[in-house]
Symmetry: C2
Subunit: 171 residues, 2 copies
């Protein structure tokens, strides 16, 4: 990532894409708390990251903490699909970002407990992930370790995760 800011309009279009994910009883359990580069919230968000993630994510234009509401807002009863549905919203956000030629990178390596405090999450919300959003930097200045991150990782073949009827023996 280049270290540039991400335009407000681009950022909002990421959330607009996330908005259309399906969810159980249309609860829309996802929440995105974001810090734009240069904002007052930025340093606090950046400090949540592990050192490994901070080393590259410091060049992001925005950092987002993703949370989900663990209970249904109407009944207060547990919402078993809160993480699953929020993952769907995250994928929409990532696809929209790719479409806008932004770099979008999900992260699990950060201090989850401190993230709760920093974003002031009410009790009913769980911290799911963080996201770095940035403008792509010039590829030639990247060290090989980071350049490798820009290529898609290998994937299992479809037959490795989609099974007719039942799990195959030994799966």
């Amino acid at each position: 990532m280049s270290g540039e800011r991400v335009g407000r309009e681009d950022l909002m279009s990421l959330f607009e894409a996330a908005r259309w994910a399906p969810s159980s009883f249309n609860e829309q359990p996802w929440r995105f708390v974001y810090a734009e580069r240069g904002s007052r919230a930025w340093p606090g968000f950046l400090e949540l990251l592990t050192e490994g993630n901070r080393s590259w994510a410091q060049r992001a234009g925005a950092l987002i903490v993703v949370l989900s509401r663990t209970t249904f807002s109407r009944s207060g009863r547990p919402a078993p699909t809160h993480s699953f549905d929020t993952g769907a919203a995250w994928q929409n956000l990532a696809l929209q970002g790719t479409r806008l030629r932004l770099v979008i990178h999900g992260m699990a390596g950060f201090d989850h407990d401190r993230a709760r405090t920093v974003v002031g999450a009410p009790q009913a919300f769980a911290v799911e992930a963080m996201i770095a959003v940035g403008r792509p930097g010039p590829a030639e200045v990247l060290p090989e370790r980071l350049r490798a991150m820009e290529r898609p990782s290998g994937r299992k073949p479809v037959a490795g995760f989609a099974f007719p009827g039942a799990f195959p023996p030994g799966a």
Copy 2:
């Protein structure tokens, strides 16, 4: 849905789309166990559903049980984002289905425990959701209750789930 079968090629292209979701340490925790209409597995999958879901999903061309691996396959340690990452794969599947003009409907209303047994899920896997996949039926034969399902449900405005810096007071 029309009650027609869904072509094998279409079905596989749904899983191919799911395949490209990002996941923590590229674990790819999602698993999809599917029953095609008319297959030996079909009646057992259909029986998992609540009566409300069965009333319309019996016209699907395929039913899918979505599971996720709750531990990292390498270390055996808990994988905190297993549901979140699997939700991302589900959203890709849903988008691809929409692109193919299929009806794609996620369901939480089914017997989760029995689903585990029916698909023969190993211990490390959690049941996340079921999906009905079908060809669209002629809209004019649908009762109003089902026609309403074909329209997108209302959504919160972006300002209702994306917050700069921190949760707003009272959120």
